[in-house]
Symmetry: C2
């Protein structure tokens, strides 16, 4: 059994869900996977920060109703979220970065990742910013320090699309993908097919907790664009920035467009796609597309996400699953930690023995 | 770069497609994956057998029109398919077993696997028989001899469902699955929805090359039953035999059943499923089921296959892809070989260095 000390950066819904999983499943993970997780530090903008080298009780952390600055009441705690100090000084093996995504410059998440990698700590993150905007730098930092930088949750929460493409489709000749990568806009399109207008549909998505108060990033395709950048760069060897990806959202679609498509046997979906072109370059875009009903993505309804990988040897292989949710996204972090665990130098040796 | 010597057992469509891939892609695999494949032996019931320690030109093997017993014309060749001698004596690292599936006793494929593992050779196979009927014995043999037994292609050809569930969904709490695991029967159901009768639909599937001359295994669910046994045992820790799985095919469905479902917003699919029950046992069956149109498997049309994994942490994750085809199934063999390559004891060390 290996115990990993982890530092949680950000204590919102996702890292809280991870702490809850740790409280409930450490014994099972020990038995099934040979690992345990021990939370040695937490920081949060509102709650403060705490370093506890012997470990913080995960259940206590989840169940206590902390007030603003409330981590100060814990041994080793402070009312301030001193992220830099915690990331650099906590005795963590793995830093779990789950702060909010800043789509413009990726900060402060990029600095969080940099500080962790520079001090020899693995990083797992669900944050699109560092992956879309700084992956080359962070990967090279990780390699230099002999640690891992893992980010399965940056695209479809816990649905393992990056790892599936990289590991289980190795050698299949992946040359492109198209995906429904934003659950909110897909939900909105479904409600518009049901007869609601755009505004009403967005309102319903907000009431159900799918859409943010400002739905622009979902509706205008900006969220999908970051995911397309990540997938094109990770899976197709691209070097794209968000500016390289033409982006149109669904706000231009009218009820008449939706109706016309339905009458003609089509369905509108917001599709993020990329493909390797003849000269080895990559063409990537985000745009609403009219899909025929027998297209693998046409039947993907509600807030579900899906991605269809285009391969030389298998044709299309499509994965459908959750693209959001606290628990689902926390599982992405767990899956990254499991990947780190299984790729440790001694792992295969043990298996082979 | 590592070169693997391989022995092809059976030289029908699948292993021919693998040989073709080797002829075309060895240089690319070397660059991208760090491996090359070298065919050192081939056996085939009709063509004979050949052992060539220095390697047989893959292109020559694919392009030559051999007559019955024609391997005798090759250096080291014989008109007889001496499988036992070839498997035991050829200087192969990996034995590629792709003979036909005998669903009753799994022979001669089980013996082929046994001979290979006993003589310290890895086995990769697309054959359901050895996996459904003898996996515990063969896995234990493999472990004892320090080699791998891999069989991704036994369920959905190259669509990587076993490896996806075992590797990329580790820790997600997989507790069941349901799948469309036979393309022929799914194609037939689609044609019946289009108004054809059962017999006509089967005839069309035969004309298109989807169905065998004797379509019983496809239509009556026997093929799906073997796949359910494999998945339940591999992914859910079961110890099922085919007799443990209640099995009904689609031959009892009438045009009236199909029409009634369509009118009521449902669609018939032949579903293979298994789930862990409260007491830890496994309930598995094969049966036609009426799925609501928003079910993740309802839209899977034509000869495509799909499986929906049920997990505690992610809910349903569904993979849709090919379930048959020469090239697709040959890719499964390649993916098994890549998995063996990537799990060699020195692999992670190199990566970490």
């Amino acid at each position: 059994m290996i115990q990993y000390n982890i530092a949680l950066i950000g204590f919102g819904g996702v890292n809280r869900a991870l702490a809850q999983m740790i409280a409930e499943n450490n014994d099972r993970w020990n038995a099934e996977l040979g690992l345990r997780l021990n939370i040695v530090a937490v920081t949060d903008l509102h709650l403060g920060s705490v370093i506890s080298p012997n470990g913080i009780d995960a259940r206590l952390l989840v169940e206590t109703k902390f007030a603003r600055g409330g981590f100060a009441q814990l041994s080793g705690g402070s009312a301030e979220a001193d992220n830099e100090k915690v990331i650099k000084q906590a005795p963590a093996d793995i830093v779990v970065e789950a702060t909010f995504t800043n789509p413009v410059d990726g900060e402060p998440a990029i600095s969080h990742c940099r500080w962790a990698l520079e001090t020899g700590k693995h990083v797992v993150t669900t944050n699109k910013g560092p992956v879309a905007l700084a992956a080359p730098e962070l990967k090279s930092l990780a390699a230099r320090h002999g640690v891992k930088f893992e980010y399965e949750g940056a695209v479809m929460s816990g649905t393992p699309v990056i790892r599936m493409a990289q590991r289980t489709l190795a050698g299949a000749g992946l040359h492109g993908f198209e995906g429904i990568l934003n659950g909110t806009s897909n939900f909105v399109l479904g409600r518009m097919e049901g007869g609601l207008g755009l505004e009403e549909s967005i309102k319903e998505a907000q009431d159900l907790g799918y859409a943010e108060a400002d739905p622009t990033a979902d509706v205008e395709g900006h969220d999908v664009r970051l995911k397309v950048v990540i997938l094109a760069n990770e899976l197709l060897g691209g070097k794209l920035t968000p500016q390289d990806v033409a982006c149109n959202g669904i706000s231009g679609l009218t009820a008449a467009d939706i109706d016309a498509a339905a009458r003609e046997g089509y369905r509108w979906k917001l599709i993020g796609s990329a493909s390797v072109s003849g000269d080895g370059g990559i063409a990537a875009r985000v745009a609403p597309q009219r899909l025929p009903l027998d297209h693998p993505l046409a039947a993907v309804g509600g807030a579900v996400n899906a991605i269809s990988f285009k391969t030389d040897l298998l044709g299309a292989v499509t994965v459908t699953g959750p693209g959001a949710g606290r628990v689902e996204t926390a599982y992405a972090l767990l899956s990254d930690i499991i990947a780190i665990h299984q790729s440790r130098p001694s792992a295969n040796k043990k298996e082979a023995a």
